[in-house]
Amino acid sequence: MWGIVKDLIKYNSEFRIGATLILVVLTIAGLSLVSPYPANVTYVVAPDVPPSRAHWFGTTSRGQDVFWQLTFAIRNTLVFGILVAGLSRLLSLAIGLVAGYRGGWVDRVLMSINDTFIVIPLFPVLILFYFVLRDRMSTALLALIMACLGWAYDARLIRSVAMSIKSREFTETSIFSGMTTREILMQEHLPYVMPIVFSTTMNNMNWSIGLEVTLAVLGFMDIDTPTIGSMIYWANQHTAIVAGIWWWIAFPVGLVVMTFVGLFLLAVSMNEYIDPRSRLARMGGGVR
């Protein structure tokens, strides 16, 4: 494992940059644990102070230190993204692998369900959920809903990989070695499917964070828990840009962009590494 990471750091500049960015983001998120100011309390410091030695990123109009708020915000946002990505990966993998391997009517039924989910317009549905659930809409619940809506596209990708591997002869060898379907999917096919799972995880995180920010900016979220979106929401409420309090918007946006770019670079660089063809070339096979 460490050998892989060391190789990537040495040879792949995309990985280096991406890893550095994510490391910075994670450090900031981790600092939330030692924040001198609690997350939800307002008016604990002087409002509208520009970035200075005492307050590195300045303070908000609500009397909160921007930097320490950001640590909570990015932590919550990241946790949200990971939750959605993780849950929806499980769904995509399960449905994609089974549909691809089984074929026949199982495949057709699952893909019909899949296509229905792809077509659902996400944004209006989420707003609808908000209006129905209103106060009970917490981050965790939103994560669950988004996971249930965000698996469909990737399930199809995984299914096509599964279908192409199914026709290869080593699948037959596994069957005649006595492996059960579950074992074949998990042990034989999964390594071929992992590159897609990996890159779609990163994409999924970006997508879910983006959507969460959008919803929060519009106020469709629990606005007391600090997330990137809610920070921007409050900044808008206090017309921060017009009032000249640029640091309230700039730093959250900058940090979330850094997260996106970092995740994207990681996905791209690791993908090339996990891809079976380049793995084979490294192991020594494949060049004739």
Binding site: R168, E172, T173, F176, S177, G178, M179, G285, G286
Partner: protein, 271 residues
Amino acid sequence: MTALLKLDHVSKMFVRGGILSSHRVAAVRDVSFAIAADKAEIVTIIGESGSGKSTLARMILGIQMPTAGTLELYGRNVAKASRAERRAFMAMVQPIFQNPFDAFNPLKKLDRYLFMTAERFGGAAAGEVAQTAADVALKKVGLSLAEVRGRFPHELSGGQLQRVAIARALVSNPRLIVADEPVSMVDASLRMAIVNLFGRLRDEMGISIVYITHDLATAYYISDRIIIMQKGEVVETGDARGVLSAPQHPYSRRLRDSVLTADGPRLVASS
């Protein structure tokens, strides 16, 4: 004595096309033959592409079911077998595939498949017993566990890989091996080792082999009986050397005349 394998007017139809337009393709038409259980033999099925030989192989292996006729293993109809019986059949009838490089997952170690077969079909518990079973099987094909342990498929040549595939098939102590073009992708200089191995499996271990190929020369060399197929039907069958030396059916004759051998006549410009 019930036959080891008995095909009785077996046919296989495929339906191509969607819901609105479809047409039926007969891949295999009315094939009947049997392999005795008490005497091991090598039965060769010769045919060109589209002759149905691969479909026939898949039906014997149980991967596909006939659409007409019955296929029996030791007297039991394969189509009507229960799950447990199908598993027992899998232990009895093992395959060898054409492409040795694709027979194993390139990302996984080879010995894993041998141990797996030993545990699932050979009745061996994990660990020592499985390793011994794998080693015994590998020795039968001229390799050993020490040579193969921890290796990946790309580290071995085509001939060696095919031998490992045969060893894996032997772990479950099968009575019948279905080999679909097993040497067509193996280098010519290593081919005879595998073909000779088939002969040894028949003579020393009493395993019958269904050998599917388009190569008449190796068929002549190793088979006892031969079945020539064209477009899904059997056109000629009988003792291998006899049929190949003096084919009767026009298609068999054409096959025989098209074979290019090292000491054959030179090709003159033809139409």
